[in-house]
């Protein structure tokens, strides 16, 4: 066995490119200190483009039906699952990078470190989606989390940003510890860190095995923290509120999606055979998450906090797909994550235009000043609530169908009724935008922001009205994987 084969290189290429370009951005800024800021953005986007090209080639390879790409003796696997998630990460990074320039200028912060951290975080996400080894997964998670700790606290002079970063760091480190403990127990069970070996060991144990239960509970706790599921959600509203808005969007979308990749890799992979243990736990967690997210969102006045609670609620819905666990449910998760990426990013982009306040009231009268911006926000909010014909509906559609198919009728009724609750708080925002006469300064929109808004809006409406191609993509992504 060669030490570092061509396949290894091919599999690792996107991550290598991301890391290299991350360093390049830092160096550029260091060497040419008078460099204009758009050049940094251009360098970042170039890195993302290269990463995309690498992913494209991997996708072509996997599509050709030769099989999955396995590297480093099974530590990394590029399959449809990994590629689907990496495309999501790439899209989110590109959108967020695009709109960061104007935002960071407004906040008067250095930019090179910011872009570099974004690329490093995405590098970590790559390992979360592609990793099939406990160590790889853990390193990916930590790389992502460390980058985010810094990014959340990026506005050094703002107290809220510092506080958010501190909370996120402390709680995040704690949860990583628990996750590492869970991993160590899994290693103890199987004597290997490869997921395939763990799968064999887990299925050899009975459903009432206490050690297995311990391993699952701790692993789940670590992963549930990252997707901000109840009872590990406490960090999310504070971190979302305090972080720079672009980082909030990145955190809410990419970080959460990556954590779901980890969760799915573990629970549909080696832990699948222990479904009887974790399914009821996750069902309870999902209902609690939807309940808390939706109910707490009602009374929020800060729009970033509101969206934080709403994203907690969404995590609950997605978990229900895992609870249902059949093909429709799994497909539903990928559809949900796809539409969640588009609509949540879009909603945060609108928040990004608010220059001097982040309370819902600051959106007052938006329909008069910028009608098209208010219409777009309405579209994103309808989609978040899950009304047809927007993309958000399709995520919920699959989840409900899966719950009915598997006979989880009570869960289905609870989940549907929370749509009405969600609509209520989303429409508080709509009410301010359309029915208030408040005189707020007109929001500023840069070209990058308009472009990003256009893309997310087109996706949100496009997937809603003609979902066929997107459903196909999502369908393929999780079939037979992980």
């Amino acid at each position: 066995m060669s030490y570092y084969s061509a396949t290894d290189n091919f599999v690792l290429l996107p991550a290598i490119l991301l890391a290299l370009f991350g360093c390049a951005v830092l160096l550029l800024d260091f060497v040419f200190s008078g460099l204009r800021r758009p050049a940094l953005l251009a360098c970042t986007l170039l890195g993302l483009a290269f990463c995309g090209a690498a992913l494209w080639r991997q996708q072509a390879y996997v599509n050709s039906g030769v099989g999955d790409l396995i590297a480093f003796g099974g530590a990394l696997t590029i399959d449809r699952f990994a590629l689907f998630f990496n495309w999501l990460f790439l899209g989110t990074s590109a959108l967020v990078a695009l709109v960061s320039l104007g935002y960071l200028d407004r906040k008067k912060t250095p930019q090179a470190e910011y872009y570099a951290l974004m690329l490093f975080a995405q590098c970590g996400m790559f390992f979360l989606a592609a990793g099939t080894d406990l160590v790889t997964l853990f390193i990916g998670l930590e790389l992502m989390a460390l980058s985010f700790y810094v990014m959340v606290g990026f506005l050094r002079r703002e107290k809220r940003s510092n506080e958010a970063a501190m909370k996120y760091l402390l709680l995040g480190a704690f949860s990583s510890g628990i996750l590492a403990y869970g991993f160590s127990v899994l290693y103890g069970i199987s004597g290997s860190t490869r997921l395939s070996d763990i799968a064999t060991a887990v299925s050899a144990r009975g459903p009432h095995d206490p050690v297995l239960f311990l391993a699952i509970a701790t692993t789940a706790a670590g992963a549930l923290f990252k997707i901000s599921a109840v009872p590990f959600h406490m960090w999310a509203p504070d971190a979302y509120e305090g972080a720079p808005t672009t980082v909030t969007a990145y955190l809410a979308v990419a970080s959460k999606t990556a954590a779901f990749a980890l969760l799915l890799r573990l629970f549909l992979g080696p832990l699948e055979s222990a479904r009887t243990i974790w399914s009821p736990i996750l069902a309870v967690v999902a209902v609690a998450t939807m309940t808390l997210g939706n109910l707490a969102a009602i009374s929020q006045n800060n729009i970033k906090r509101l969206l934080a609670y709403s994203s907690i609620a969404h995590a609950g819905y997605i978990l229900l797909g895992l609870v249902a666990g059949n093909d429709t449910g799994i497909q539903g998760i990928s559809v949900y994550l796809l539409v969640y990426t588009a609509m949540t990013t879009g909603a945060f982009l609108v928040v990004l235009t608010m220059s001097d306040g982040e309370d819902i009231a600051d959106l007052g009268g938006l329909a008069k000043r910028k009608p098209w911006l208010a219409m777009l926000m309405l579209l994103f909010l309808l989609s978040l609530a899950g009304l047809p014909p927007t993309a958000g509906f399709w995520g919920k559609y699959y989840i409900f169908l899966a719950l009915i198919q598997t006979g989880h009728y009570t869960l289905a009724v609870i989940a549907t009724l929370y749509i009405a609750v969600a609509l209520y708080y989303y429409f508080r925002i709509v009410r301010f935008m359309f029915a208030s006469d408040a005189e707020n300064p007109a929001p500023e929109t840069s070209f990058g922001l308009r472009l990003a808004l256009g893309v997310t809006a087109a996706l949100t409406l496009g997937i809603g009205i003609y979902p066929e191609p997107f459903l196909k993509v999502a369908q393929n992504s999780l079939m037979g994987a992980p």
Binding site: I404, I419, L423, Y424, R431, A435, P467, K472
Partner: protein
């Protein structure tokens, strides 16, 4: 049968909407003219449906079918039978009239208002012509958003409360309905091995009674909120009272029928055993009778003119649901006629109240009196609308209620006896209203100078007045159109 008449009817308002968006929002005259033209065009393109409709053919006509989302078995399937035909015509006519009557009453943000109205038209027409349960659901939800804005932005003082209440009530119902439809969809997959939301496919399902009942109640919530049936009616008075005149008219005349239509298109044909189940029928009949009597009694004591009419809707729609669940031909046909008749008469009443409100800016009944002396034409129009609503012979209300009572008498005499009280009470609250507002001396001096109906207001009212006379005097074409579809439903339920 491959022409696209129904698609044209469905998308004409949407085309009008897209052009409307190009008109600058400052140019309110042009916006008004264009919105009226688009709504009128929507009516014109729906006329061929009447002329080319074949009342003696069974099944659906003007059927269009195309794949929408093949992997889920969702089709773009349109078609109408006699039931849909009446409701589509009601929608296009009332839709146009509601746009027309907003000429003066809406003076701010006209562009948004008319855009919402045209979008609403697409939604309601879509609901009545969809042959695919999924498509039906999409249109059903689509209706909510423009209606929220029409109430919430152009309504009365408590508009925002009323708008969100309306939205939430309907949404809770409709998501449960979605679960019911998904359950049918899944059962279809289990039994036939392929995905389909089409109603004709879902009709082939073979389900035990218990399953049917669960799905029935899931759908029931969705439809009953919309009708609205007691005790889910509490959104209605708020929404009707706060909505601008055009909104109230559409809401009462067309949107309430979405609920009854749902019963006739989904509950009865798809879940015949549950619909014919003794307990289910008893529960719904009792709820309908409570709605009839309760709505009428509450109307009797309303001090607010518009709220009185809103509660009278609860009472009249109670007749419609009672008619449906008599499960016989008379009851169903009567229910349909009553739905159209209620659309016309309540539409008229709301229009007339709107006209008074524009003049006086109050709707307190006690602020009026002796209006017949200053506004004779208005008083005549109001009398006709009132008698149509109360069910005077020769007007449309009589035909509908009489046929429903006939059906109720066949099904269960007790129901008929109780429901007759509703007719009596309706006469009471309407005549009393008329007496207090129109007859007697002029009690308030402000009312002495009120102008009578203008030609434009007359033009708004006349078509509806003519229509109510037509149904009242010669209802045969309506019964002819309804005979086939009603017979099909009855045959399915009593199989």
């Amino acid at each position: 049968m491959t022409d696209h008449l129904l698609s044209i009817v469905l998308f004409t308002p949407l085309a009008g909407l897209l052009v409307l968006l190009l008109i600058p929002s400052g140019n309110s005259a042009l916006l008004r003219i264009w919105a009226n033209m688009a709504a009128f065009a929507g009516f014109l393109v729906s006329l061929p449906l009447v002329f080319r409709f074949n009342a003696s053919a069974s099944g659906f006509q003007f059927v269009e079918r195309a794949d929408w989302i093949p992997s889920l078995g969702v089709h773009y399937a349109l078609g109408i039978d006699g039931i849909s035909l009446l409701l589509v015509m009601l929608s296009t006519i009332i839709g146009f009239i509601a746009v027309l009557c907003s000429w003066q009453s809406v003076q701010s943000r006209e562009k948004g208002y008319y855009a919402m109205f045209l979008l609403l038209q697409v939604g309601v027409i879509g609901v009545f012509i969809s042959l695919d349960a999924f498509l039906f659901y999409v249109f059903w939800e689509l209706v909510l958003i423009p209606m929220y804005f029409i109430i919430g932005l152009w309504g009365g003082p408590r508009r925002l409360y009323a708008a969100i209440k309306f939205f939430l009530f309907t949404l809770v119902g409709s998501v449960l309905m979605l679960l019911g439809l998904l359950a049918l969809y899944y059962l279809h997959f289990q039994q036939f091995g392929f995905n389909s939301f089409e109603i004709s496919d879902l009709m082939k399902l073979n389900m035990p009674l218990a399953t049917q009942q669960w799905i029935f109640w899931a759908l029931f919530v969705g439809f009953a909120v919309k009708v609205p049936m007691f005790p889910l009616h509490t959104w209605l008075p708020d929404a009707h009272v706060e909505a601008p005149t055009g909104g109230s008219v559409i809401l009462a005349s067309v949107m309430l029928k979405m609920g009854t239509y749902g019963f006739m298109r989904f509950s009865l044909p798809l879940l015949p055993a549950a619909s014919a189940d003794r307990v289910v029928v008893q529960i719904i009949a009792v709820l309908s009778i409570i709605a009839i009597l309760y709505g009428a009694l509450v109307s009797l004591v309303q001090p607010d003119w518009k709220k009185l009419i809103a509660y009278s809707s609860v009472s009249h729609m109670g007749f419609c649901t009672l008619g449906i669940f008599t499960l016989n031909a008379n009851g169903l046909a009567g229910s349909m006629i009553q739905q159209v008749s209620h659309g016309i008469s309540t539409g008229l009443l709301f229009l007339l109240v709107g006209m008074i409100y524009e003049r006086r800016h109050t709707r307190e009944i006690s602020h009026f009196g002796g209006l017949a002396q200053v506004m004779p034409k208005f008083a005549v129009a109001f009398a006709i609308a009132m008698f149509a609503s109360a069910g005077l012979p020769l007007l449309s209300g009589f035909v509908g209620e009489f046929t429903i009572l006939q059906g109720a008498f066949q099904a269960n005499r007790t129901w008929a006896v109780w429901a007759v009280f509703g007719v009596v009470l309706a006469a009471a609250y309407l005549l009393w209203l008329y007496q207090r507002t129109m007859l007697g001396k002029i009690t308030h001096d402000e009312n002495r100078v009120l102008p009578d109906l203008s030609w434009r207001e007359g033009a708004v009212l006349l078509p509806l007045i003519a229509w109510t006379f037509w149904i009242g005097i010669y209802p045969k074409p309506y019964f002819d159109i309804l005979a086939k579809p009603v017979a099909e439903i009855v045959a399915r339920v009593h199989r």
